[in-house]
């Protein structure tokens, strides 16, 4: 299938869905509207709400705050995950001692931490960053840990036979291997950074996309809720696209499944 047909079909899916939504929420079928506007709104209202946000400029502030929170959560969570992942992988004793606690904290649904973070860090951005960090940290941590532990035995022996010191092994073997594992989880961890930020905002804040959605919900403004969801989706897709670009640049050495390499 050519790119154009594919794109056309993809657009068609959206058009059909939106048209159905619009029809069912405005035109009565057998004297009854199947999607009552109070619960489902309609695409035109949702779209005009989005246009209003962007034309008045209110949305930028909220987008900016969510973006900053996500980025901070991602950077801090990744840095922590890389450091601790490396440390645990190189010190099996430490890993063994902390193993049950790591599992315990990771098993905890992170949402329950949100009120605690709000208490500790206030309603500003840092309580959301903290929530995002707890999500990102574990993804990166497990991947880096795995990456360092699963360095190919032969590659490691080769490094040693070529005369690498422990520090050089770290730099030329362990580090790139761990990074490649971390980058393979980049999409997931960036996604979770956004989830942490938005959920945090939803549960208590004064700005951000999550706040916008929560506010709309509070006054039964269904169009506003849907509009917030669409803006959020578009936001995540844009970030994901950025991640793909970064990934392609950094992982050129890796074979790709579809043979693009």
């Amino acid at each position: 299938m050519s790119r154009v047909t594919l794109l056309a079909l993809q657009v068609l899916v959206a058009v059909v869905c939106l048209a159905l939504w619009q029809l069912l929420s405005t035109v009565p079928v057998f004297g009854k509207i199947l999607l009552p506007p109070f619960f489902f709104s309609n695409p035109v209202d949702v779209f005009s709400q989005i246009v209003k946000w962007f034309s008045s400029g209110v949305i930028w502030k909220h987008l900016g705050i969510t973006l900053v929170e996500s980025l901070l959560a991602f950077v801090i969570g990744s840095a922590g995950g890389v450091l601790v992942g490396f440390w645990f992988a190189r010190q099996p004793l430490v890993a063994a001692v902390f193993d049950p606690y790591v599992k315990m904290v990771n098993a905890l649904p992170r949402v329950v931490l949100a009120p605690i973070f709000a208490l500790w860090l206030g309603l500003g951005i840092w309580s959301k960053v903290a929530l995002g960090v707890t999500l990102v940290f574990f993804i990166v941590f497990f991947n880096v840990y795995q990456g360092v532990k699963e360095v190919s035995r032969t590659v490691l022996d080769n490094g040693r036979m070529l005369g690498m010191s422990e520090r050089q092994l770290m730099r030329h073997v362990y580090w790139p291997s761990a990074l490649s594992w971390m980058f393979s989880s980049l999409h997931t961890s960036v996604g979770f950074a956004v989830v942490g930020a938005v959920v945090g905002e939803y549960l208590g804040s004064a700005a951000g996309l999550g706040y916008l959605i929560q506010q709309a919900e509070g006054i039964f403004d269904v169009a506003g809720v849907f509009a917030g969801m669409f803006v959020l989706s578009a936001f995540v897709i844009l970030i994901d696209f950025g991640v793909t670009l970064v990934e392609r640049r950094l992982l050129v050495w890796r074979p790709t499944v579809d043979g693009r390499g």
Partner: protein, 272 residues
Amino acid sequence: MTTPTAVALEDAKVAFRLGDGRVYTAVEKAHLAVAQGEFVAIVGPTGCGKSTLLNVAAGLLKPAAGTVKIFDRPLAGLNRDAGYLFQADALFPWKSALDNVAIGLEIKGAPRAEALPRALKWLTSVGLGAFANRYPHMLSGGQRKRVALAQVLIRDPKILLMDEPFGPLDAQTRQVMGNLLLDLWNADRKAVLFVTHDLEEAIALADRVVIMSAGPSSRIIGNWRVMLPRPRDIFEVRLDKEFHALHREIWSVLKDEVMKGYAQSTQAAEAV
């Protein structure tokens, strides 16, 4: 003694502790000396511990008994005089072919600007000058072996240890690689310890062929000098009458061990 011995294994014994606590003796009382400039091939049936012996010479494994001497000095830790060519892919997948070769010099502290041109020269001498920027996954198995060869040789090790380096390659590529190896070796005649399961390859390449018995507790059971003239061409040397005579003679000994090794490996499988 005119030439010093590059690698000397004296009564080397290699044993592993198995998961259930038993001790498995891979190699027993191995006595092996490789003189400077000598090309020695070790041939044996599958699982006879020939790679194990090579790892002992490399310092990657410690012998359970006996001594390892490198240039008449007992080996402690890794063998710093040796370059090791692995059977499996051992290139750094995140480095380009050029960087993979240059790393050998960079480790020693050579600045990058100095290492890169020399790496390119080595890549060219293994026939891959045009592939410098490719990553290992973009190269064929034979090309990867060439890069690995350049990676090892750029450090100019005094001893070359090779563990079935051409094992994973197809028959034609193996012969081409064999000739390339002989050409490069001819330039400065390092001491080589070459492990293979292919007797023909061993005779075609080496000055001396050492035969090991089937494991466990395998021993070195034979030692033949290959008097074929050098420089050799692997394609042609196989047609030589002397080559055939030697092959027949060594095979008569090796055959029994191969059958024994095969019988043991199938019995072991049935016992499980």
